[in-house]
């Protein structure tokens, strides 16, 4: 068996190790017969069977046989490569064999376990499968996993809460960060907001310290009034030009990129009397009015939820608007920071002694607050009816027309309860019967169908606040194309995997966080940002990326530069070089093989899954054994 082909052209020397897997294979397949058969196949230098190939004995047997029989290819014929390939590959490596010179043949999951009632045919199939493996193994080639150096700096696009949080995390780890913001100042959408939910701090008080930290962090280079103009390269090595509104374009080199460009609220053109009647505003516009203390005198205010979302203009639920409405309702009820500008003429106590003090005790201690909440909750059960119609402390009647209240999570649920304690009314509507905002005798009015009473009703209001969804930035597609990362069907940037890779893009080296990825509140945006920063830091900290060994290769003598492969690649891993010929960016290629299957010139070879290897398998499968 060990005849050395001294001096002659080397033909492959394949070792085949066939496993009984106890009785899992041996009980249903004649393993000895398969082993004898394997020994007769071309280029098989050694074939043997093991009781358990993956046990120490079995692994040692592989290592010793590689040396003893001078094997240059190994086949293990046992269970599934999906669980066991790495183990046997390491064994090969330990014996000095490149791990890509290993092939797996699955005769357990795909044979003995699914053909338990026909030993003869199962044995025949196992022989066929081994023959296929040998045919493939003859064409195997060693592969190298190359390391690619990484530029240890990052680019963050967007200077809102997410972008600033991500930039700070990376900068605090010691990496230089380029922070690109299209506006003339940092802060993002939160700048438009008044009082925030679940905190006594105003939006300004929340965001300013973050901006200060960014300003003080020397590792962060800010590019205000700027946008990303061009991006070349791949994970670890991006060349980015940042175009300023009134500055020279700047070129920077970075290793990873974080997208944090946020979102904008939908403008409800043509919905619920917006721009048609006075005092019909969006939730965002109301925040601005609050900041300016420019709110007309309110006695009755109505919120309408899901304006334009959930099937109207966009299909999704914007996630945050219920909580925003609850927050705003409570703020109005409590006249937060004297936003209504009406404390001088304190309204008459409308609801008896249950009503709390207005603005004056806004800074109530947490403890009192909690006690009050508990008291309120207990009360809600039985006494609602007694105080029906009682107005909140600010004296403003507040009604929230909703399809259902998405106050998800404990804090928001508590806020929802608090709003109800404050006599905020929540009235349901169904999408087939939307509330109507009309003018009657010069007064604003909301007409609606009361689902419980089953009757049309209407109420006079001073102001209607429309809760519209966050929608993607109008120019999101520009950045999406520059970075070759996808937008989902709702126009938001789409992560690699909803559950397992929530802040990665499928393209290595680019990450996503905040509302550009879908509606989120500040806390969520900040957590995503911290997550994205830590993901983006991995290649930076390593200083290198390991490129897949299984990649495509373009034969430049065959390529005509048609560009089909560039279009087909899901990872933007192919590009045309100066000569118009396609080239593979090894660091970006995942080895799916889509390009190889598409190239009309047959110019692309997929390493380890070559046409030759796959067709040899097919041919062997169809030969008579």
């Amino acid at each position: 068996m060990t005849d050395e082909a001294n001096g002659e052209k080397k033909s492959p020397r394949i070792g085949v190790f066939i496993c009984h897997c106890g009785s899992n294979i041996g009980g249903f397949v004649d393993v000895k017969a398969v082993t004898e058969y394997a020994a007769t196949l071309p280029d098989v230098a050694y074939a043997t069977d093991n009781l358990y190939t993956c046990a120490e004995d079995g692994l040692n047997n592989i290592k010793e046989s590689i040396k003893e029989h001078n094997l240059d290819r190994v086949i293990v014929s046992s269970c599934t490569p999906r669980t066991h390939a790495p183990l046997f590959q390491r064994t090969c490596e330990a014996a000095g064999l490149n791990k890509y010179m290993f092939t797996f043949v699955n005769i357990r999951e795909h044979c003995s376990w699914v053909h338990m009632k026909d030993r003869e045919r199962a044995t025949q199939k196992a022989k066929d499968l081994v023959r296929m493996g040998v045919a493939r193994a003859r064409f195997l080639e060693p592969q190298e996993e190359t390391k690619i150096d990484v530029t240890q700096a990052a680019l963050v696009v967007g200077g809102g809460v997410s972008g600033m949080t991500a930039a700070l995390s990376l900068a605090n780890m010691g990496f230089p960060v380029h922070l690109v913001e299209k506006d003339n100042e940092l802060g993002g959408f939160v700048r438009n907001l008044h009082g925030l939910m679940n905190t006594k701090k105003s939006a300004g008080e929340t965001i300013e310290p973050l901006i200060d930290k960014v300003n003080a962090q020397k590792n962060i280079t800010q590019h205000l009034n700027s946008r990303v103009a061009t991006v070349e390269g791949f994970i670890g090595n991006y060349d980015v030009t940042i175009g300023g509104d009134d500055a020279e374009p700047k070129e920077v080199k970075v290793g990873t990129i974080i997208v944090a460009t946020g979102a904008v609220p939908l403008v409800p053109e043509g919905l619920f009397g917006y721009k048609e009647h006075p005092n019909v505003v969006t939730a965002t516009e109301f925040e601005e009015l609050c900041k300016k203390k420019d709110i007309p005198k309110l006695k009755n205010v109505a919120f309408i939820q899901c304006v334009g979302s959930r099937g109207q203009k966009v299909s999704y639920c914007s996630r945050i608007c219920c909580n925003v409405a609850i927050k705003t309702a409570i703020n109005i009820a409590e006249n937060r920071d004297n936003m209504l500008g009406v404390t001088e003429e304190k309204p008459a106590e409308a609801g008896g002694q249950a009503v709390e003090e207005p603005a004056a005790d806004m800074k109530a201690e947490e403890g009192t607050e909690r006690r009050r909440r508990r008291r309120g909750r207990g009360r809600r059960e039985g006494e609602d009816a007694v105080e029906e119609g009682a107005a909140p402390s600010s004296g403003v009647e507040i009604t929230v027309f909703n399809r259902d209240v998405m106050a998800y999570g404990v804090e928001h649920e508590l806020e929802f309860n608090k709003a109800r304690e404050k006599r905020v009314k929540f009235i349901r509507y169904v999408p087939d019967n939307l509330p109507k905002v009309t003018m009657k005798d010069g007064n604003l009015e909301v007409g609606y169908f009361h689902e419980t009473l089953k009757m049309e009703r209407s109420m006079p209001v001073d102001m209607v606040i429309l809760s519209t969804p966050l929608v993607s930035q109008p120019d999101a597609s520009t950045l999406s194309q520059l970075l070759k990362v996808p937008l989902g069907q709702d126009g938001f940037f789409q992560e690699a995997h909803v559950k397992l890779r929530p802040v990665d893009f499928a393209t290595d080296g680019v990450f996503v966080c905040g509302t550009c990825r879908g509606p989120a509140d500040i806390a969520e945006a900040a957590s995503q940002a911290a997550a994205a920063a830590s993901r983006a830091a991995i290649p930076l900290a390593n200083g290198f990326v390991q490129a897949e060994a299984l990649t495509s290769r373009v034969d430049e003598t065959k390529c005509t530069g048609c560009g089909t492969c560039v279009e087909v690649c899901p990872y933007g891993a192919l590009r045309k070089n100066e000569e118009g010929i396609s080239e593979v960016i090894a660091a970006a290629c995942k080895g799916c093989g889509c390009c190889g299957a598409t190239c009309p010139e047959g110019a692309i070879t997929m390493t380890h899954y070559t046409d030759q290897q796959l067709l040899a398998e097919a041919k062997a499968a169809l030969e008579e054994g």
Partner: protein, 148 residues
């Protein structure tokens, strides 16, 4: 046409050969699960593992028929579940084209299938194989004019 005249007789001697190109992440895993759950199916199928169903060049399918396959399956992850983002969309497109092409070449549509089989769908894998074997038993071998 003649072969349909007497499918009963064929059944006893005819042993169809099926090549199944399975993507590593979903359908190969589905076939593994069929094994782990000991689902029994006919021995006629030979699986060729590829990383993505999008790796399967239409030429491989044609070649498999030319080499004597009676049926070919290309199996990948369900739409929108592709490990490589959208490799299976390419498979779907090529599948439509191949089906038409093979029909024009005189092959019955039952002989070529694109299937979406998830890693959790061991049962589906077994059923797909069973069904194709049953259908091929009825069809019998590829008639001479049909071959490439």
């Amino acid at each position: 046409m003649e072969k349909e005249a007497d499918p009963g007789e064929e059944q006893s001697t005819y042993d169809p050969k099926i090549i199944a190109f399975c993507c590593n992440w979903c359908s190969y895993a589905g076939a593994d699960l069929a094994g782990t759950t000991r689902l029994q199916y006919p021995t006629n199928v030979r699986i060729i593992r590829v990383m993505c169903s999008g790796r399967v060049d239409p030429a491989f399918v044609l070649k498999a028929f030319a080499l004597g396959a009676d049926g070919v399956i290309v199996a990948g992850c369900h739409p929108s579940d592709c490990h490589y983002i959208n490799g299976n969309e390419k498979t779907a497109m090529r599948g439509t084209f191949l089906t038409e092409f093979l029909e024009e070449a005189g092959l019955e549509p039952q002989r070529f299938k694109v299937e979406w089989i998830a890693g959790s769908e061991g049962r589906k894998f077994a059923d797909v194989v069973k069904r194709m074997v049953d259908e091929l038993q009825v069809l019998g071998p590829i008639s001479e004019e049909g071959e490439q």
